[in-house]
């Protein structure tokens, strides 16, 4: 406890005369850490959207006209025999209409006196169908049925999403690396100034027999604190940003508690590392 107080006092003495620059470094660390934070949240949400889509891979098969229920059943059985198709559900024109109403409200179809929607089948397909060639083969096969008018498949969107996701992740890693170096550099500079400021004190401590560890601990913790506080402010800012996006555009998921802890600990670690880099000839 006494040690902790001593260290805290030494830390305060180290920054007392450098409040503005210290605050500046803190601000820079905070801003720097926001960037990879944003990319992290974005890639998390893209990943989630992708796996959601993957789980509910559906192919919409639009039909030329309404089918009787027995005809619909037999067509369904034919579809189910095709490889890659795991489920099939008939959506009549009325079903389609009520779904649309449920989704967008009644007004959207107000002006129309006739139902404009076609009947369709919704086919569940395996992930293998995501492969473009497999998808094309399946679509061709389905289109061969005389009842089938058109086939719409989100698979291509999905594989494009996958590509975007990979780039976002790459960007995230690159940014994280860049920011890590920046944070270390900033903290190292701040701590270096703090040590230089207290050169005389450090020398006197050495004269009376203080060990390197004794002298350096406050500085290393100072660096850690800079990183930690920078990361904490970043998390708050990130939460604010993603809250705003959730309210105004699409619902996005924020970092999990353990991810937040990891983020903040990373800040702490980078800060301490920066201080260790700055320790020089003590």
């Amino acid at each position: 406890m006494r040690q902790l107080i001593r260290i805290a006092v030494e830390m305060w003495r180290a920054v007392k005369f450098e409040l503005l620059p210290t605050f500046g470094s803190l601000l820079t660390i905070f801003l720097a850490m926001i960037l990879p934070g944003i990319v992290w949240v974005a890639s998390k949400n893209l990943s989630r959207a992708e796996s959601e889509l993957r789980k509910n891979l559906v192919m919409n098969v639009f039909l030329t006209g309404e089918l009787s229920s027995s005809r619909a059943d037999s067509l369904k059985n034919q579809f189910l025999r095709i490889g890659g198709v795991t489920g099939a559900g008939y959506v009549s024109r009325d079903d389609a209409l009520s779904r649309m109403k449920a989704r967008f409200g009644g007004e959207i179809l107000e002006g129309l006196d006739e139902n404009p929607l076609p009947s369709s089948f919704e086919l569940r397909v395996t992930e293998a169908v995501l492969e473009p060639r497999a998808a094309r083969a399946l679509v061709t096969r389905l289109k061969a049925f005389p009842e089938v008018d058109d086939v719409v498949f989100a698979g291509e969107l999905l594989s494009r999403l996958g590509k975007v996701l990979r780039s976002v992740k790459m960007l995230g890693y690159a940014l994280a690396l860049l920011v890590a170096f920046t944070a270390i550099f900033i903290v190292a500079n701040t701590v270096r100034v703090a040590i230089a400021d207290r050169r005389k004190t450090v020398e006197i401590m050495q004269l009376v027999g203080a060990t390197r560890g004794y002298i350096l601990t406050p500085f290393v913790l100072l660096g850690g604190l800079l990183g930690l506080v920078g990361a904490v402010i970043s998390v708050f800012a990130l939460a604010e940003i993603s809250g705003y996006i959730s309210r105004s555009f699409v619902l996005i998921k924020f970092l999990m508690p353990h991810e937040i802890v990891a983020f903040i600990l990373t800040g702490l670690l980078l800060g301490m590392l920066g201080a260790v880099v700055a320790r020089e000839n003590i």
């Binding site: 006494r2 001593r6 003495r13 007392k16 005389k200 004190t201 020398e203 006197i204 401590m205 050495q206 004269l207 009376v208 027999g209 203080a210 060990t211 390197r212 004794y214």
Partner: protein, 220 residues
């Protein structure tokens, strides 16, 4: 207690700052080291608190062999050596008492012991009533007394004073040297480097004379 054998020190390839110095100091001795400016007094003391290593020769201080000591052991040695300088070297953002306490803190002493020993040391040097003053609130004479308290508070093997009166007036110089003599009378081993041979003579103690880095002899 302290023994130097054929100690030499040269900085780089320049002329030697110290050449072939041998002497020893017994426990409880008060000894003066004199010589003109540049004679090597400070250099000699720096070897003793391991600010520098000798270029050749052997130095032993109590149980320590200074010629073979490792970098990691230097802090340990320094806890057994008290140092006093012309410019006091007090930490400006610590009070007089906190400056003295530092020497005990780095050793890892408990709070009570630090408190007690700090108070005792401050009383001994007659500066207890100014214990809460910061260095800039002390006169030169007072600041140097605080430095003396810090140097002796750990009961060091030896106290080294490099021109301790260099920044003090006549009266304060005498008082400070008298304080060091009193410390010595109660058992401390002390080496004082000074170019004021006259002042040193007043004490009638052993005086070593340095000239351009060589030992010229000793007197009283």
């Amino acid at each position: 207690m302290l023994t130097l054998e054929n100690v030499s020190k040269h900085y780089g390839h320049r002329q030697a700052a110290l050449t072939d110095i041998s002497f020893s100091v017994g426990k409880g001795e008060l000894m003066f080291l004199t010589g003109a400016s540049g004679a090597g007094k400070s250099t000699l003391l720096r070897l003793l608190y391991l600010e520098e290593k000798p270029s050749s020769g052997a130095i032993t201080l109590g149980p320590f062999n200074l010629s073979t000591i490792t970098k990691e052991q230097i802090p340990i040695l320094r806890r057994h050596v008290g140092v006093i300088f012309q410019d006091f070297r007090l930490i400006p953002e610590r009070t007089a008492a906190e400056n003295v306490a530092l020497a005990l803190e780095v050793v890892g002493k408990g709070r009570r012991e630090i408190r007690r020993k700090t108070d005792d040391a401050l009383r001994l040097v007659g500066i207890w009533h100014k214990r809460n003053n910061y260095p800039h609130q002390l006169s030169g004479g007072e600041a140097q007394r605080v430095a003396v308290a810090r140097a002796m508070v750990n009961d060091p093997l030896v106290i080294l004073a490099d021109e301790p009166t260099g920044n003090l007036d006549e009266q304060n110089s005498r008082d400070l040297l008298a304080l060091l003599r009193d410390l010595n009378l109660s058992g401390a081993t002390i080496i004082v480097a000074t170019h004021q041979v006259g002042l040193a003579r007043e004490f009638g103690r052993r005086i070593l004379h340095l000239l351009s880095g060589t030992l010229q002899g000793e007197s009283r």
